[in-house]
Amino acid sequence: MLIEVGHFALALALALSLVQAVMPVWAARSGDGALRAVATPAALGAFACILFSFGALTYAHATSDFSVLNVIENSHTTKPFIYKLSGVWGNHEGSMLLWVLILALFGALVAVARDSVPPTLRANTLAVQGLITFVFVLFIITTSNPFTRVNPAPAEGNDLNPLLQDFGLAVHPPLLYIGYVGFSITFAFAIAALIDGRIDAVWARAVRPWTLTAWSFLTLGIALGSYWAYYELGWGGWWFRDPVENASLMPWLAGTALLHSTVVMEKRDALKVWTVLLAILTFSLSLLGTFIVRSGVLTSVHTFATDPTRGVFILAILILFIGGSFTLFAWRAPMLRQGGIFAPISREGALVMNNLFLAAACATVFVGTLYPLLLEMLTAEKISVGPPFFNYTFIPLAIPLLLIVPFGQTLAWKRGDVHAATQRLFAALAVALVVGLAVLALTWGGPMMAPVGIGLGAYLVVGSVMEIVSRARGYGASRTRGAAAIWRRTVGLPRSAWGTALAHAGVGVVVLGIAAQGWATEGLKTLKPGESLASGPYVATLDRVGPRAGENYAETTAFLTVRNAGGDFVGTVETGKRFYPSRKMTVTESGLLTIGASQVYASLGEVLPEGAIGLRLYYKPLVLLIWLGAVVMALGGAVSLTDRRMRVGAPARARPKSLPSDMAAAE
């Protein structure tokens, strides 16, 4: 019964989202304020319906209701409870339902947000959001219904793919979707502005919190996905440059550019048309990502069997939204009043360079991802574009971008002074040079790019710290040396300054982690109990191989002891082969030993009858920095979000240069 009500609620959400999409547009023609106000309850109602629908499916999964096809295909009575819950979105239908749930959640948040958005802009934004919700709910109801019943119900389900029975599935898709779908709001705002034919700093201020939220979650989602792939796939790579990963990287690059261009628009009333274009592009790339993942048109390590009719439907959605929004853009963009043009050496000039390099990097990823598809359509020739392509194109674009980052922070708005900025960045440049050269000398004969990367990472981290330090000290005449005054200034710095510094430092930390992988080592050997395999500065000895029981699997585990080069005990690692009887499928579970930010990574191969095993042992120096850096970046986004200027509902301050309240209180 609950399942049918859930299905009905989804149909109701379809109707409500149509109301949400149509009424504000109609009201704009007739000028009826009451009609326009219908969008708010419609958005809330659609969200409530989809939430109920999602709850019904979750209940079916939690109680293993095998009369529902979706539960049969993805669940099993012996499956641990947490995977019964995460299994709701561990399949196509459920993950699409999660997608629209987040879409409707964002719609509802825009509807109730008490910010200073003009009513027409809000209503139009809700209308666009309503249209997106409508189309995707229609997609679910017509091609991917999760509520299909089966009669008679089988006694047991097929279980979830064991690769997905992991904590990663519980957190990675929701975070990633909040990021992907969050950009639908900036898209809706952009389309609403185009409909209005008006765009200004108020628009930029309204959009910025949503962009920051989506960007922070997307950053976390990508990082978690990367870590999940790293430990689950057993070969120790942290990024495959696989189509599905590229699909999440592209909106991230475009979204990062958007984040920076809205700052320029808010502060300097410039880059308007470009910002609108970026907002459209970012969500278009999110939609493209959904298409790539859901249709299976591109061969990916993530590809599973897929249904072609769904691919056609999503392609139609893609054409509708991307084609429609670009047409609207071409038609209306010339009407937007152009902002001023500015000096190349200035904060906004640096932000333009940031946008240029991010857009170019995004374009290379785009070409590398879609070129194989195009070539196959045109010539029937099948190719794969692998890591060499992306390394060759992406890194040369990323390095100048990263070099600009601390300069951009230091330069003043309107007219910057490169000489003064360089002086202020002297510490960062010096530290980077010393660290890079020292590392190069210590690892002479090793990979050349790794010390360069370490120097670059150090430059970014120190540059961010120096930015906070120099702002706390003050510039020019207001420069002080008194500890109390510095403390007051530090505390009084706007949160957005802290957020920027944190996010940029996070980028530096990621770069450090990536660069250190140049020194990663791996060993491969057939081991009998008592024998050892070395990798980097560590040696693993096989103690024994034995069975170990799990809740819904049987595992053959290799128990290893890790010692350092001096023979001192460091820790133990266990890696195993898990056999899931429900699917008759074997999955390798890699073993990780964390030593500081570095890891020793063991992956079990064939277990031979005489008790010998195949073992691959990696040493991954500072590998955790890659994901920790991403967490720092997302944290920077969150801190920025708490800035007074950004707080939804906070009125714009009358005197922008007045002291922040906490600083005034301290005095």
């Binding site: 399949n91 690769l163 689950e232 390590v301 993530h302 794969s384 060499p388 491969l524 691959r616």
Partner: protein, 179 residues
């Protein structure tokens, strides 16, 4: 700086970055893409030895042999032609005789394919798309029905004919093994 020269500087910067990106893409395209080849194509001498490519097909029944020090030998077939493959490393969990596989590496002068990467299926009811296409070209695979004749037909046929949509989360991870 006048307004005109500022605009010029902006356009020049855009042009320079775009030219850089384009140049990088074009030069990377000529050097780093990898073609997909079936055993039939390899047998008909399309591939020059030493070029990197992806070889896809079925692992021939009874061809898997484990050597010392984690080396393995197996044959990849599309039922028309067969190529001998050498690999050193751990094979993916779903690597089976009679099942689909994609290997990446280079052809040695003696006709043996030396793989440094071996990819297998991602779940029990999935066949790598290139492999399915290559088999279709041989008339051995039908959409929705799976293998029609030959290797391990009972296994793949029963799996594919159940026609279940396989689980697919956004970021579901396939099997991969790489050296």
């Amino acid at each position: 700086m006048t307004r005109k020269s500022r605009r010029l500087a902006l356009i020049a910067a855009c042009g320079a970055v775009l030219a850089l990106a384009l140049g990088l893409i074009l030069s990377a395209m000529s050097g780093s893409i990898v073609f997909f080849r079936s055993p039939t194509e390899v047998a008909s001498q399309v591939v020059t030895p030493g070029t990197r490519f992806r070889l896809g097909g079925l692992v021939k029944d009874g061809s898997l042999q484990r050597g010392p020090d984690q080396t393995v030998d197996f044959s990849v077939t599309d039922t028309n032609a067969t190529v001998q493959v050498q690999y050193r490393g751990l094979l993916p969990d779903l690597f089976r005789e009679g099942q689909g596989v994609v290997a990446e590496g280079t052809l040695q002068p003696g006709g043996v394919f030396r793989a440094d990467t071996v990819l297998a299926k991602h779940d029990e009811s999935y066949m790598p798309r290139e492999v399915a296409d290559a088999l279709k070209a041989q008339g051995r695979w039908q959409e929705g029905k799976g293998m029609t004749v030959a290797p391990a037909s009972q296994a793949s046929e029963s799996k594919a004919s159940e026609a279940q949509p396989a689980p697919a989360a956004d970021k579901t991870l396939g099997q991969r093994s790489e050296r």
